[in-house]
Amino acid sequence: MTIRRAVLVCLLIGGLLSWPYMVGGYWLSLLTQILIFGIVALSVDLLLGHAGLFSLCQAAFFSVAAYAVAIGQVKYGLGHLQAIGLAFFCGLTLGAIFGLSVRTRGVYFILVTLAMGYIVWGIGYRWAGFTGGDSGITNIPVPTIGAFDLSQPKTFYYFLLLAVAVIVIAYYRLVTSPFGLVLRGIKSSEDRMRSLGYSPVTHLYIAFLISSFISSCAGVLYVYFNKFVNPVSASLHVSVEVVVMAILGGSGTLIGPFIGAAAVLAMRNWISGFFEMHLAVMGLAFIAVVLWAPNGLVGLFRRMTNRFKQQ
């Protein structure tokens, strides 16, 4: 690691740690959301940047985990640990079922995951008796760990930072491991992998499960932050947004998904402040990114710095 990088990382960590004491409630909330959705974007990128699979159903696991906590605690009076356990169980079970989609590739995979994700949204929306329908579920109790009350924004933020650190470190070890290399091999040439002794589908299925697990983590964090969940959390819109976050930040990198999350959420918050047609603006932004910055912000940054270096 170069000196410059080490300095940047230190600045980043310092900034993250001192953030709640530097800014007010709005910015703290924004960064909290960025970190939570960054985790979902990370789960997307495990499949996209490393395995070459474009999944449009990540919001489904996120949402199901959130709902599991919500329904478990509010409707069935479960304790926090039980509810969290239920959330992971549900998220992983859904991942195991949706993971069947890895039997398809390319366009089929995109369409299948889109349809599956949408169906989860539809069930959340229609099964009003169980999920609260459009209104969702409110007043979700938030845990207290020892002396730390997670319903306090600052306390929650530090807990979240810890969770993000753990997830990112585990993710890093995963993608640099043989398993991660195999995924990249599959992305590069699946045929070749088969002739080298691999069964790509098994690896992809496990990657899909891991991705659903990561997304479920974000769902649990989300529901405790928001204290509220509704079907929008499972919508196609969220699934698309997290993909854009992964790509915009720079697919295949560790920090890319979080940069992408920052860009998308900051932009959305800023735009909806003064523009009522914010979805249209988001749409235009997607179009712009696809046409002019297909390698994301990290790629754009690299291109600019290369040009600067050559002068």
Partner: protein, 248 residues
């Protein structure tokens, strides 16, 4: 008499109405260099695809030593000891040379499931892979991304991928295809100097190269086996001449 490493019994493969391979049989002993020749469209690559598992066969049997493998998946067959190269270069372009060879190395082990610790840190991986990379002459390019390699270097890499696990059987599909004459000579030597405990079956278009390398030759024409024997026998065989000079 050596036990056959590869036995093919009446293998046929049809695609819809087209019979690409028509009841071909052959047996290759351990250490043998067996070359398959024939004009374009003779079914040579289709035969290879049937041997390595890319295509399921329509009828017949394929045995690796004494084990029937025609119903196994491509991956399972590879893990039994088959290394293969393809006619059109098929390597991992976005990865580095080292990563390519590491993947080939890990493919036959259970280490491919390890979700922590760097891939290069796996026991014995780095040493075996760097050794293989230097054996095929790509030591200076270890950290390079494969997309920046020349076509000839990619072919070398492809051979390395097939060799890194010391396969029992090596299937080479026109290893020199698309190479400049100097590169062809280098490849010829690479193949010639392969250790004799590896059995090599090779598809080759160039008659001279084929007859110079081979212990035995199989000639295919329109999916059928037309002649089989030593290089000298094939040189004298009139049917083979007709096949190549168009009287059939």
């Amino acid at each position: 008499m050596n036990q056959s490493v590869l036995t093919v019994k009446n293998l046929s493969k049809s695609f819809g109405g087209l019979l690409a391979v028509d009841s071909v049989s052959l047996a290759v002993s351990k250490g043998e260099r067996h070359v398959i020749i024939g004009p374009n469209g003779a079914g040579k690559t289709s035969l290879f695809h049937c041997l390595s598992g890319v295509h399921p066969i329509t009828s017949g049997a394929v045995l690796l030593e004494d084990k029937e493998i025609q119903r196994l998946s491509e991956g399972a067959r590879a893990r039994l000891g088959i290394g293969r190269t393809f006619q059109i270069s098929n390597v991992f372009s976005q990865l580095t040379v080292l990563e390519n060879v590491l993947l080939a190395f890990l493919g036959w082990t259970n280490k491919k499931w390890i979700p922590w610790k760097s891939a290069a840190a796996v026991d014995g991986a780095l040493s075996r892979c760097t050794q293989q990379i230097s054996a095929i002459g790509l030591s200076e390019k270890v950290g390079e991304t494969v997309s920046s390699l020349s076509y000839g270097e990619k072919r070398q890499l492809e051979l390395g991928l097939a060799l890194v696990n010391d396969p029992k059987l090596l299937l080479l599909d026109e290893p020199c295809a698309g190479l400049a004459p100097s590169e062809r000579r280098m490849f010829f030597n690479l193949v010639k100097n392969l250790p004799r405990d590896i059995t090599v079956v090779m598809i080759e278009h160039d008659m001279d190269v084929a007859l110079a390398l081979a212990d035995n030759v199989t000639v295919l024409h329109r999916g059928k086996l037309v002649a089989q024997g030593s290089p000298d026998e094939i040189r004298e065989d009139l049917t083979v001449r007709d096949v190549y000079f168009g009287n059939v």
